[in-house]
Amino acid sequence: MESFFEWLQGLSIANWIATDESIWSFPTILFFHSVGMGLTAGVMFIICLRLVGVGAPLPVSSMRMLFRIFWWGFVLNAITGSLLFAAHATITGNQPIYYAKLVLIAVGVVLAFPLQKFVTGDASDGIIPVSVRGIAALALAAWVGVITTGRFIAYLQ
């Protein structure tokens, strides 16, 4: 694993991100990663709050297009996140909290599928089943966890 991190960090793009002094390298990628977080976690918060039953009485079917934002935000953050990781792979790759974040992302993404299935389905504006509410509550907790662990990566080095 260590040799993989070293190889990754030795790539010229990773080296550029880590060592370039301008705001166009690491800072700009970090900015896009934050916007991606706002898109992914932001719309997922709204979707989950609505499905749990504490959010606004929006028609559930009106939230279908939000999944497009969620997935685009996710793609943006998978790319920017990989670049940020590559720049400091030998450090971040040895942080347990980084793996906690990856697990929580996996949980959030896996749970997005049944939620999307319900919201895009024909019965979305009917009664929300208890199982969907439960999945939404779990997904909400997972994304809160992703943000929290993500923030701690920067401080627990």
Binding site: S34, G38, M44, I46, S62
Partner: protein, 315 residues
């Protein structure tokens, strides 16, 4: 003009402004006018936003003034904690006023509970602002004191030690997880706020058309909740480590964008041209332009927030 001038200008907003807004509120009671109630609530909300900048420019004034001859640094510290206490009540008034404004749109109409909270909080705020500004005035004008009069009469509970920058800074430095925990909360608040901003403005821009705006309106308190989380955590960063921010150009732009975006929230809460949007309706062009600008402004806030360590050297 510099940021110290700006502090001398902006300090009239929470002091004189709250008195004017309270006058409008009392007039609204007398005239039983819903328009005047809305006007008073909107004023309190706007004053609460500007007061954040009033407080923060105060730290710039402190940094520039405390070394000057004839300036009592201790008095500045007293003024600062009195001002922070007043700010806490000012922001509580602003949130209550926003809530009253939002509540007034509900079928039941304006809530007495929210209205009385605004009234009560604003009276306390005016008293605390008067206290803070009295001390503030004496920093550069000690000559206005009567013979034998001491400014220290205004300290104690009205300038609590826990609200001193030094106390907050001590906590941040002595609890290794305090800073990252506040950061995590700040980013959770950001996501919640940004999510509501996106959904609300996307509806106005023409997406999610099978949702009537009334339903979007019910969502707004979640966005304001995110904004409150971020104001509290953000102010804790600022008060504890003001030296990182007061000369940081990214921070100045972040605050400017935030104030503009915050004012835009009033539009989503108050204005009839978006309120009237029913299922399937298209918003007028002006509403779409404002909706687009609001998304842009909040992305700007994220940008300058993220750039704090890189453009301005904050950690």
């Amino acid at each position: 003009m510099n940021l110290v001038h700006l502090h001398l200008l902006l300090n009239h907003v929470p002091t004189v402004g709250t008195i004017v807004a309270l006058g409008v509120l009392l007039l609204a009671f007398a005239k039983k006018s819903d328009d005047l109630f809305r006007g008073a609530f909107a004023l309190f909300f706007a004053i609460a936003l500007v007061s954040l900048a009033t407080y923060m420019t105060g730290h710039v004034a402190e940094a520039r003034m405390k070394e000057k001859p004839g300036i009592d640094a201790e008095l500045i510290a007293v003024h600062q904690s009195a001002a922070l206490l007043a700010l806490v009540f000012m922001e509580a008034t602003g949130v209550a006023a926003w809530f009253a404004l939002w509540q007034a749109r509900k079928p039941g109409g304006r809530s007495t509970w929210a209205t009385s909270s605004v009234l009560l909080l604003s009276v306390v705020t005016i008293a605390l602002m008067a206290n803070a500004s009295t001390i503030g005035g004496e920093i550069t004008h000690p000559e206005i004191l009567a013979p034998g009069e001491h400014v220290s009469a205004a300290t104690g509970a009205l300038a609590p030690a826990a609200l001193k920058g030094a106390a907050i800074r001590y906590y941040q430095f002595h609890h290794p997880n305090a800073w990252p925990q506040l950061e995590a909360l700040h980013f959770i608040g950001l996501s919640l706020l940004f999510g509501v901003v996106l959904v609300g403005n996307l509806r106005i821009l023409g997406f999610m058309r099978n949702a009537p705006y009334i339903d979007i309106h019910r969502l707004l308190p979640w966005g304001v909740f995110g904004f409150v989380i971020n104001s509290v955590t953000g102010m804790l960063f600022f008060v504890g480590q003001a030296f990182q921010y007061i000369d940081n150009p990214a921070f100045h732009l972040k605050v400017l964008f935030m104030l503009l975006a915050g004012a835009n929230v009033l539009y989503l809460t108050l204005f009839d041209d978006v309120w009237a949007l029913d299922t399937g309706d298209t918003a007028p062009l002006t509403a779409k332009i404002l909706a687009g600008s609001q998304i842009f402004l909040w992305i700007g806030v994220i940008y300058f927030g993220r750039m704090l360590p890189y453009i301005g050297g904050a950690f």
